[in-house]
């Protein structure tokens, strides 16, 4: 019996059989060079439109650049120490963290609740999923403009409260400094909970039915089954939703700007609106980049914590 050995075959087979680490860097580069060519345009774009401006901005944070002229001087950490004493910026940090906390908890609770409800055998569940998710596809600026009208003191929201006998609950939703951050959070929750719902619906598909059946046979009630079987299985979905909620909350701009411009006063000012105001309404570009840098650091810390907490534990 004659076996014809193709000159390429042994080396290809041998290469395929070798574990990845055994192949040299040069071999791996040659195999994947074509991918690098495809990544090159996007990489160049990323460097010049994201990385270079980010580094430039970080440098300007330590200067007194006014955004117009080429003259500027290094002033060290003056912009950052100014933030500590400036209620405009310090209130923005506090509001950003509060808004993020409210939207993180709210979106997960509401999203999970909706996912559980609309994953049951309830009639019309597919239609309801579309209805709940629909606001998320509309740009936040449009949604915020609608809610700004709805939440006017004489607007439809207060009128509806009055109509159902809850006139005592009427509030100045966007003009009361004690309520305004909660009102803005409500608008964000109304729009974005549908996204989290979809993530949890996908997660619920992976909950093992046999485990649920076994738990039911063992006498576990619905609540026990939820906490013992369903919730642990939803951990991957929780990781994704946490990342979206936290980063989305930290960088919220559109809803705050359209609804209140950070007012009344600075009571709903967040870091992203503070960056915008400092740069474009006050002409303090260097100060605005310092605020932006603080926001970036907070976001990085949040992402690192989230990654660490969601990392699978190694068994002893």
């Amino acid at each position: 019996m004659t076996t014809t050995i193709d000159s390429a075959t042994p080396s290809a087979t041998a290469r395929a059989e070798l574990p990845p680490r055994t192949r040299s860097l040069r071999q791996r580069f040659r195999e994947n060079a074509w991918a690098i060519w495809f990544l090159l345009p996007a990489g160049v774009f990323l460097v010049f439109s994201v990385l270079v401006p980010t580094v430039q901005g970080a440098v300007y944070a330590f200067t007194d650049w006014n955004g117009l002229t080429a003259d500027w001087d290094f002033i060290g950490f003056d912009n950052f120490t100014r933030m500590l004493n400036d209620p405009f910026a310090s209130t923005a940090v506090a509001n950003t963290l509060l808004l993020t906390a409210i939207t993180f908890v709210g979106q997960n609770v509401i999203g999970l609740g909706l996912a559980l409800a609309l994953s049951s055998q309830i009639k019309g569940r597919r239609f309801m999923r579309v209805v709940v998710f629909a606001p998320a596809v509309i740009t936040p600026v449009v949604i915020a403009n609608l809610w700004r009208f709805i939440l006017q003191p004489e607007g439809p929201f207060n009128a509806a409260l009055e109509a159902v006998g809850l006139g005592w609950a009427r509030q100045i939703w966007l003009g009361d400094p004690n309520l305004v951050v909660w009102s803005i959070s409500f608008v964000i929750l109304w729009q974005m909970s549908g996204v989290i719902m979809v993530i949890y619906i996908a997660g619920l598909q992976n909950v093992p039915d046999d485990l649920l059946e076994a738990a039911a046979l063992d006498g576990a009630g619905a609540v026990r089954r939820f906490f013992a079987v369903t919730l642990p299985a939803l951990k991957p979905a929780f990781v994704v939703s946490t990342l979206l909620c936290v980063i989305g909350g930290l960088k919220t701009f559109d809803q705050v700007w359209v609804l209140t411009r950070g007012g009344p006063g600075v009571s709903s000012q967040v870091l992203s609106t503070a960056v915008y105001q400092a740069a474009f309404l006050r002409g303090e570009f260097a100060y605005s980049t310092a605020i932006a840098l603080v926001l970036a650091v907070i976001t990085i810390i949040a992402a690192v914590i989230q990654q660490r907490v969601s990392r699978p534990r190694k068994d002893a």
């Binding site: 060079a33 074509w34 774009f45 006017q152 004489e154 003009g175 009361d176 007012g263 309404l281």
Partner: protein, 430 residues
Amino acid sequence: MRSKNTARRVMLAGVAVAALAMTAGCTSGGGGGGGGDDQTLTILWTQGYSEGLEAVMAEFKKENPDVTFETTYAEGDAYFAAIRTQLQAGTAPDVLHVWPGNGNVGATIPLAQNGSLMDLSDQPWASTLPDSAKPYATYDGKTYSFPTTLSIVGAVYNDEALAASGLAIPETWDQVIQFCKDARDKGTVAYSLGLTSTHESQFVGYALYPQLVQGPQPNLDEEVAAGTTTFNDSGWKDALGKNVEMAEAGCFNDSAQGADMFEASRILSEGESIGMVTIGQYMGIINNPGLTLAPLPGSNDPSESKIAVAPSTSAAVNAKAKNPELAKKFVAFLATPEMNELFECNVADGLGSLPITATDGPGKCDESAFDQAALTYVQEGRTGGFPDQTWPSPDVQMALQLGMQEAVFGGRTVDSVLTDMTNAMLSSAG
């Protein structure tokens, strides 16, 4: 096999280079950075004055048929962002809308200080600018902008609502407080207010500024900047305190804290309030021709009452204009009395503003009771300016606006607002 791999690599490299070239093509060109020939004029202007500008552009084109205009409009905060970023990037149009004087990032003086505007001192209109307008159009002895109109801040009354209430326009401060109480007794409200629009919080202060601050202390800003006094020790304390007093007397609509300028304008327009302390630019939004202008009295002597009148939207030329000669020609055209009047008449039908030459007499479209009242005060010299136009940075006005948003209904004290304004003045001057 080797030639097949090589061909494959060449093909893939070609695709990648083509993709890179397409990306580079997307990022180049475009923008508002001037026309490609000397007959294209690029303009950046505010949306609210677009009708005035369009009317003048149409007349200019009749005399210069080869000229093509490329106009970009923006409004409010978007305009500030556009003008600063475009000037910094070198892509700003030839002709720019700027604000007169100082006090905001798009105003004549800070832009001239940074070398962003062209010196227009040699233009024929520069020597004929009214003396009252010159401080707001010049920097370091040179002229940089042409102020097109005068804007007005005062108390505006809905004639029908006033007649229905049976009340009279108050002429003293005590009458203002009584007017507010009487309006409530009659089931209406004296003045509409929409505090969620940031600038709404400054108008009572602005209306009282000529009488209570500028008149008695004309050099206040310099003194505060020098550290020899504070805003707390000035007429501002009285002016802003009166704003709070009005709120305590029930002068404003119950929804004031949650309403915006559009809601406040609607309330006045539909007669749900009798009046509103506001600026002339709102007349287009209020959209009710039956309005009367009067000063908001700051004392019990009617003869001391004044209205605030100041130069408004101004035209300037980009220092790095691609078409400087055509740009200067257009601004000079806009500055002629006929075109200035045409511009003013096409902005809200001329209601709420006056031509820059108002001291000489009314414009063609200033026959409304509102404009006639304003003219009377201008010609009698019973006016003052807008305070922000002489402040060294936007921070002072922002401290006033943001502070009064909370202070009007007792969220913070007037003294704390004035302290913030003083600190902002000191840091800007320093």
